[in-house]
Symmetry: C2
Subunit: 109 residues, 2 copies
């Protein structure tokens, strides 16, 4: 077993918000989550104590963070301080986003 390179079984695999598959990998303070947003998906309003940042890799998605809203495309980054409510919906699919949390979200391991 590698200390640094995950094997397929080392990734966390979850389905969130009904139909959104995520693939996760956690370190000590950092957790990565690769998100594949289906066309009809809605990551509806929610908040969590962990800070979240990320970047759109493929496609486009509408990010609503508190009272701000922006459509992000490949290479665009965002940040969500802990406790700030947010909502994400895909605009152009396939839509892949890399989300990063700190500290780790235990429920996403």
């Amino acid at each position: 077993m590698s200390r640094y390179f995950p094997e397929p079984d080392d990734y966390g695999r979850h389905t969130v918000f009904g139909n959104v598959p995520i693939i996760t990998y956690a370190g000590q303070q950092i957790q990565l989550s690769f998100v594949d947003l289906p066309a009809d998906s809605v990551v509806d309003w929610h908040a969590h104590p962990q800070e979240q940042m990320g970047m759109v890799i493929t496609g486009r998605a509408r990010f609503q963070i508190d009272d701000e809203e922006k459509i992000l495309g490949p290479g665009d980054m965002y940040r969500i301080p802990g406790g700030v409510r947010h909502r994400v919906t895909p605009v152009e699919t396939p839509c892949h986003v890399i989300d990063v949390f700190s500290p780790v979200r235990e429920e996403y391991r």
Copy 2:
């Protein structure tokens, strides 16, 4: 000015290891760095106290972390605990990697 969505001027832009451009964005505990590894680049052996994790987005790169070595391609993730030496060289370009640091590396803001 947005609190959550960086404008072009809000990104950090640096050239590291001689010829490697990076685009960075820092939150409180998380820092993202989008790395574009040129074909002849070498991110030579180094270490830093911050934890580092990341994922290859495009292309392939050889990651050497302490005494382990692996070629990573799109979607493959890695983790480097703070203080562990590592070296990265592209194998197939264009090679884009998203690196994540926690805490923030002040020199990369």
